[in-house]
């Protein structure tokens, strides 16, 4: 009896083990899985910061009676992409549609996890989206996701603190102006901003060097060139930030998104932020005491008279290659990003990436309820007007590394040392570049470090 049971257990164990070992390599052929465009049960992973998914999905299902969508709130961008890579590795349990943060799209495109959306004609939509978010979602010049929101980098500042320091936020046009303002604000005891070099600062970092025209890395097929410190744009950035650190003009102790961060925004210790256009709602709930004091302006420029923007954050919807309902899934993401769903998303506080919405009257109409609430917090300023202008500014082409999650997590390890004063920012970034090169080699790329 016991022997039999033991034998069964052992056999089952070995069988599963063999099964497991065999699984790793399976990846389906995309074209066979288009499925019926009008009839499907879709599974959709993503996060829901505006609490609006339920309504949008209901509308979509009404318009497409054959398709049902099951939304699974997967929490954060990081957790979603982790879950997706696990599901892809397992070869089952993956969703049909997934929401990803823009920089991670390339990674899944490279590893063949996502469907090339030009199969469904998505490439023709290029001109309908703002350039910033659209450009980030291309791999080999093919779109692998459609942008659902975007985050043009903005300059948010606390007018009350600026006034106290005798600084006019509106007149800060260049990073030099910003530096002068930083000194005056420091004299009042506040900091113009916080920079701690943690992994949460990675996205603002890429936005800022992007705006500076830097090319810290170049990916060309299987070749990667890393040029972290000698690139002209990088040099410009390094010199500027090093100056801020050396003169104690930025708060290097407070990491973004910590509770302390909210408290410092709330009590005026941090007087401004350069961050994505999605920030208003975070400010309104995170720094309620400063209602009426915050303002938003265009990002300072490196050269006077320029109008260069950059992207911080932003997310997109993609169709997973393992999906058996790719055609219906595409229909859904088209609805969400380009169709009627996009309008609902914008109405519930997501910052749009569709030009049509950005330029529409209702988007900047100060009398709508949502706009009124935001504008009140910003002292009556028409916030969306400023944001919309930024979203339509030109951006330089910028490419993320195919192993972006690693780039993000090791950014904190290496670059934070510059903010504690252990080493200079140049040294820190050089070390960071070496780390990125190592990872590239581990992943089979040919890496050159300049």
């Amino acid at each position: 009896m016991r022997n039999v049971k033991k034998a069964i257990a052992a056999t089952a164990a070995i069988a599963t083990l063999v099964g497991l070992a065999a699984c790793g390599n399976g990846s389906g052929d995309g074209n066979a899985n288009k499925g019926d465009a009008d009839k499907a049960e879709l599974v959709f992973w993503g996060w829901d910061s505006g609490n609006s998914m339920k309504d949008i999905i209901a509308k979509f299902e009404k318009a497409n009676p054959g398709i049902t969508v099951k939304f699974n709130n997967t929490g954060t961008a990081e957790k979603t992409s982790t879950a997706l890579s696990n599901a892809i590795a397992a070869g089952n349990g993956a969703p049909d549609v997934v929401m990803l943060e823009d920089p991670t799209v390339t990674q899944f495109a490279v590893t063949d996890g996502l469907v090339d959306l030009s199969e469904f004609g998505a490439d023709k939509l290029a001109d309908d989206f703002a350039a910033g978010p659209w450009n980030k979602l291309q791999y080999n010049s093919k779109p692998y996701a459609l942008p659902i929101d975007s985050g043009p980098e903005m300059f948010f500042y606390n007018k009350a603190v600026f006034d106290k320091a005798g600084v006019d936020g509106e007149s800060i046009k260049t990073w030099d102006d910003y530096y002068e303002a930083a000194k005056k604000i420091r004299a009042t005891g506040s900091y113009i901003t916080n920079l701690a070099g943690t992994s949460n600062d990675y996205q603002p970092f890429t936005a800022q060097i992007w705006q500076a025209g830097a090319q810290p890395w170049k990916v060309d097929g299987e070749k990667i060139t890393i040029n972290m410190t000698k690139d002209e744009g990088m040099q410009r950035y390094i010199k500027f930030v090093q100056k801020l650190i050396d003169e104690d003009l930025v708060d290097t102790k407070t990491p973004n998104w910590s509770d302390d961060w909210n408290r410092e925004l709330n009590d005026g210790t941090i007087a401004s932020l350069t961050i994505g256009a999605w920030m208003p709602i975070n400010l309104m709930t995170g720094a309620p005491d400063q209602a009426g004091n915050w303002r938003v302006a265009q990002l300072p420029q490196w050269e006077e008279g320029q109008e260069v923007s950059a992207e911080d954050g932003g997310s997109a919807l993609a169709v997973v290659k393992l999906s058996k309902n790719q055609a219906a899934a595409y229909k859904f993401i088209e609805y969400m990003t380009h169709g009627d769903g996009a309008q609902v998303m914008a109405d519930t506080g997501t910052f749009p990436s569709l030009k049509k919405i950005l330029t529409s009257d209702s988007f900047t109409d100060p009398t709508t309820e949502a706009n009124k609430k935001t504008n009140d917090y910003f002292g009556g300023q028409n916030v969306n007007e400023v944001l919309s202008e930024a979203a339509q500014r030109p951006t330089e082409k910028f490419q993320y590394l195919p192993y972006n999650p690693f780039a993000q997590s090791s950014y904190g390890d290496e670059v934070s040392k510059a903010y504690t004063g252990e080493i200079t920012l140049e040294q820190a970034l050089e070390n960071y570049g070496k780390k990125l090169a190592e990872q590239g080699e581990q992943q089979g790329y040919t890496v050159t470090v300049k």
């Binding site: 599963t16 099964g19 497991l20 699984c23 992973w45 996060w47 910061s49 505006g50 609490n51 339920k54 699974n72 709130n73 997967t74 929490g75 954060t76 961008a77 957790k79 879950a83 696990n86 599901a87 590795a89 397992a90 070869g91 089952n92 349990g93 969703p95 929101d149 985050g151 949460n200 998104w257 509770d259 909210n262 408290r263 709330n266 009590d267 994505g276 999605w278 920030m279 709602i281 975070n282 709930t285 995170g286 720094a287 309620p288 005491d289 954050g313 997310s315 506080g349 997501t350 910052f351």
Partner: protein
């Protein structure tokens, strides 16, 4: 004498039976005596016969330690009464401008269509089935290890210690792949099956069975013709009560607070346990364009702890009767 030297089988059996009954009666008497003694002692305020007085000094020392243990709860309780605005703007150990505890509790249970209630029920399901099963398996396994010398027994120890020395994080991916192969991810089973293993419980029950269940008693029961399972349920289980309660408590808390596994296994928020749900709410504050709802996270955490406190209070009386289990061991 001669007749006594060669007993027939029937006589032998009868004698054994009588002996066993007598032994049982004796044990019972000892247990009862001790229970009474303990009761009397407890009533008089002391049970340690060598020292009948309570010590103020020791109480003060323990009180300091209790403050260390409890003051973080004061933080939790105070902040559960704050609105989100007060949470970011007022001092952590002081009350906010408005007393929003009831509002917070209501919001916790109504936010996102009342999903918190669903998480609560899920957690209870995982605890009842998962931790309940884990306790049962640990009792049986620990009992087997303590009371039987079966083939492979000596290996068990090394294998189990070896297995739990492997960092759980690194096992998460293989575990996920295995469950995905069997289509178990995103189902309650992916939560329950791994919860069924409580290695710590197994060792605890091993030690307890070793100490609390005398071999003679088992032999006697076997002689009596009782099957192994009957012996286990009727004789051993009652003796193991304090150990079982300890094991159950650990299994309950471990399942209740399990975080990493459901994070990997579950993607359907309808199956989330409380920990994952609360963490999702916490993450919302650090998502671009997300609303900070720390007040709900704090209040939700407080609510999460309450059932554990209740179950602790319900279970703790079993430790006092631990003495009865010890009675048979001399």
């Amino acid at each position: 004498m001669t007749s006594n030297g060669r007993l027939t089988e029937a006589e032998l059996k009868a004698q054994e039976k009588a002996a066993k009954a007598a032994e049982k009666a004796r044990q019972k008497r000892i247990a009862a005596d001790e229970k009474a003694e303990r009761k009397r002692a407890a009533k008089n305020g002391f049970s340690n016969p060598a020292n009948p007085t309570r010590s103020i000094g020791l109480t003060v020392v323990c009180a300091i330690f209790a403050i260390y243990c409890l003051f973080p709860f004061a933080y939790l309780a105070i902040n559960a009464t704050k609105t989100q605005a007060d949470f970011t703007s007022t001092f952590g150990m002081g009350f906010g401008k408005t007393f929003a505890l009831w509002d917070n509790i209501v919001t916790v249970f109504t936010y996102q269509d009342g999903i918190f209630g669903r998480w609560f029920i899920n957690t209870i399901l995982y605890v009842v089935v998962g931790a309940g099963g884990a306790t049962l398996l640990a009792i049986m396994g620990g009992y087997a290890l303590a009371k039987f010398r079966f083939p492979g027994r000596n290996l068990c120890f090394a294998i189990i210690i070896g297995a739990i020395s492997v960092p759980g994080i690194a096992l998460a991916v293989p575990q996920f792949l295995l469950f995905a192969k069997l289509n178990l991810t995103n189902t309650p089973w992916s939560m329950i099956i791994p919860s069924l293993v409580s290695t710590f419980g197994l060792y605890l029950m091993w030690i307890f069975s070793d100490q609390a269940v005398p071999d003679e008693l088992l032999e006697a029961a076997r002689v009596d013709g009782a099957g192994e399972f009957r012996t286990f349920f009727q004789i051993s289980l009652p003796l193991l009560a304090p150990g079982i309660v300890t094991t159950a408590l650990f299994a309950i808390v471990a399942t209740w607070n399990n975080y990493f596994l459901p994070l990997i296994m579950l993607k359907d928020s309808n199956w989330y346990p409380l920990t994952i749900g609360l963490n999702q709410w916490k993450d919302q504050a650090s998502t671009a364009g997300g609303q900070a709802i720390q007040n709900l996270v704090i209040t939700g955490s407080l609510i999460t702890i309450i059932p554990l406190v209740i179950s602790f209070l319900c279970l703790q009386k079993y430790w006092q009767s631990g003495l009865a289990a010890g009675a048979v061991k001399e």
